[in-house]
């Protein structure tokens, strides 16, 4: 070749960028991640936690007022019987999906870059599903009989109607929450053992006991790792169809009805793509400040952000395709109600919400065609906020614009949220951020053992065949597993 030496970042596209940057070894990875939970609580954390708790109390107050007064405190009214509560439910459950995609789907596809973002994303999933679960529960109006949705013996001697997609949703969401929590916990066990051992070494016995209890006595035995890796693989294999089923079933809540604007077969894939899009948006919203404030930039590198931006571009364009295809099918169906529903969506009284949705979800990710923008955390953060806003509006558009023009013009109405609607929604962020801040404070926010497993020195043949696997390769090429 020529005499030109490239000292800067290698541009060979076949060469894998390092997953962990800087001069890091196993001990420094442990140190970087454990330090986040071990150092003195920063002032900023108290500030954010205070705000989150205030919002959470606000949620409690809004829900309490609702329960004591009735669903009339919301803007929901005929014909818009599904207002903000269902919009918020779908919004939050969608956000959860990126966590499962990162933890399960990217695991099955051997995308090793997932290791530094999977833990926090799975936590995000669990907290988002918690926030989501509140809304259908309070939306039933009489929350004290919510147990009727479960197949439990009750005073009416009746069983639930298993033919209803709403009941499928009960099973889908509760299974999703349970499996996500278990998957997250299994991943945490070796890292909790790390925290336990560090706490014991430093003489912090309360912390050592607490972490030790949840670490279950893990001591890294290879006999344990064999079962552990199998369990992890199986959970990933189960979670992958599960996550697709959850948002498909959420979309059935709409698609199985006969309402123009809802009754479409594109809904399941379109909802899943949208869910992944919104979830990755939220991952960026959370991870960009976290990596900056917690000093994790060598573990969550620009390459990670770049990859997330590519997924946003892909899924944003997919939802854009779905928006277009809905119009095409409405026109092609020849059904005037369908045609009206869609033209009304884009040009009717809620035109503004439709165009907010299109601008945020379809246009804003197009900036990610440019590498420099994909690698600029400020730009990424701003667009991630747009994605969050846009995906909330998508659910608003689907729910409200399809309902506000009923078949009879005499029933037409314009939905407006009440103060309680707004307080409940804002309060759900309080729940989400309270949980997330507690997680950031007390738990290993990055998967310590998994990150070590993808470092070049984790390969047992590392340093033997020189040139076969260089020090910068993030991936030990001789061992394609894990």
């Amino acid at each position: 070749m020529t005499a030109i030496t490239v000292i800067d970042e290698p541009e060979d596209p076949l060469r894998r960028a390092p997953l962990v940057e800087g001069k890091n070894d196993f001990a420094s990875v442990t140190e970087t991640i454990a330090r986040v939970a071990e150092k003195r609580t920063p002032r900023g954390w108290y500030l954010m936690f205070g705000i989150s708790i205030a919002l959470l109390l606000n949620l409690g107050a809004a829900v309490g007022y609702l329960v004591f007064t009735g669903v009339g405190v919301w803007g929901n009214n005929v014909p818009v019987g599904w207002g903000w509560p269902i919009v918020n439910f779908v919004f939050w459950i969608g956000i959860g999906h990126a966590g499962t995609l990162i933890s399960a789907v990217l695991f099955l596809f051997r995308q090793k870059w997932r290791t530094s973002i999977n833990r926090a994303s799975e936590a995000m999933t669990i907290f988002a599903v918690m926030a989501a679960g509140i809304f259908p529960a309070i939306h039933v109006g009489r929350i004290w009989v919510i147990y009727w949705v479960f197949p439990l013996p009750n005073q009416m001697a009746m069983w639930p109607n298993f033919k209803s997609p709403l009941l499928w949703d009960v099973f889908a969401v509760s299974t999703y929450f349970t499996i996500s929590a278990l998957f997250w916990y299994v991943g945490l066990v070796p890292d909790l053992a790390t925290f336990r051992d560090r706490a014991a070494k430093a003489g912090r016995m309360v912390a050592a006991r607490a972490y030790g209890l949840f670490a279950m006595g893990w001591h890294g035995s290879n006999r344990h790792w064999i079962h552990y890796e199998k369990a992890y693989m199986i959970l990933a294999g189960l979670s992958t169809p599960l996550v697709l089923s959850v948002h498909s079933i959420v979309s059935f809540d709409f698609a199985v009805s006969l309402l123009p604007g809802w009754h479409t077969t594109i809904f399941p894939p379109y909802f899943v793509a949208g869910a992944i899009f919104s979830g990755f948006g939220m991952v960026l919203t959370l991870m960009i400040p976290a990596r900056k404030w917690l000093g994790l930039h060598e573990l969550i590198t620009l390459n990670h952000l770049d990859n997330i931006a590519k997924i946003l571009l892909l899924t944003g364009t997919m939802v854009g395709y779905a928006y277009g295809m809905e119009f095409f099918i409405a026109w092609y169906s020849g059904v005037e109600y369908e045609q009206f529903a869609f033209i009304n969506r884009a040009t009717g009284p809620y035109w503004w919400s439709y165009w907010i949705m299109v601008s945020c979800n379809v246009i804003s990710p197009q900036f990610f065609w440019f590498r420099s923008l994909r690698r600029n955390p400020t730009v990424l953060f701003i667009i991630s906020i747009f994605v969050n806003i846009g995906m909330w509006f998508e659910r608003f558009v689907i729910t409200v614009t399809s309902l506000h023009r009923d078949f009879l013009p005499s029933s037409w109405a314009y939905f407006s949220p009440t103060l309680i609607d707004i307080l409940t929604y804002v309060g759900s962020f309080g729940l989400f951020f309270t949980m997330f801040l507690l997680f950031c404070r007390f738990l290993p926010i990055l998967a310590i053992s998994e990150i070590k497993g993808v470092m070049p020195e984790a390969d047992p043949h590392h340093g033997h065949g020189h040139g076969h696997d260089d020090n910068h390769g993030g991936e030990p090429s001789s061992n394609p597993t894990h």
């Binding site: 196993f26 001990a27 442990t30 197949p151 001697a157 009746m158 069983w159 109607n161 298993f162 033919k163 997609p165 099973f171 889908a172 299974t175 349970t178 499996i179 278990l182 998957f183 299994v186 070796p190 053992a193 790390t194 051992d197 560090r198 070494k201 030790g212 209890l213 279950m216 006595g217 893990w218 001591h219 890294g220 035995s221 290879n222 006999r223 344990h224 790792w225 064999i226 079962h227 552990y228 890796e229 199998k230 369990a231 199986i234 959970l235 189960l238 169809p241 599960l242 089923s245 079933i249 059935f252 053992s449 070590k452 497993g453 020195e457 984790a458 047992p460 590392h462 033997h464 597993t481």
Partner: protein, 182 residues
Amino acid sequence: MATADATSSRWGIVAEFDSAAAIYEAAKKTTDEGYSRVDAHTPFPVHGIDDQLKQRPSGLGWIVVCCGLTGILLAQLMMWWMNAVDYPIWVSGKTPYAWPTTIPITFELMVLLSGFGAVFGMFGLNRLPRLHHPIFKHSSIHRASDDRFFLSIEATDPKFDSAATKSFLEGIGGTNVEIVED
């Protein structure tokens, strides 16, 4: 503690290694030497070491399959009995038991029970939780969750001999080779 009684209370010998490559080699040498009650203790699963330690693959899959099938059966029985036998519900123009409408819940319960099988089965096979374990008495074992790799040979191994095993582990590059009491 060097009394005759101490022999019976020995759990095994534990040696420390400083890299994944070192423990990989040491594991092979140990099993080649004829030791059978050998285990590695590592901060992350070291790939290919299962074969070096002559440890069998996990049978967890079978537990999960059984749980998954139970989930399918349970879901079908539940929906059939509740909606078609105990209190038949005629709704949306479908027979009380209409199999296509049962698919989503059947799938969800299959996943739920399989997930329970995978997680609780894994802990069961690993005999966890077990908060106390003799190996925690080793002086540097806390680094097994950080950056060091440990090899243990249990006292129940037929080839185990305190002095010989200790010098063998030192001979293959182990440091901090310690006899761990039960």
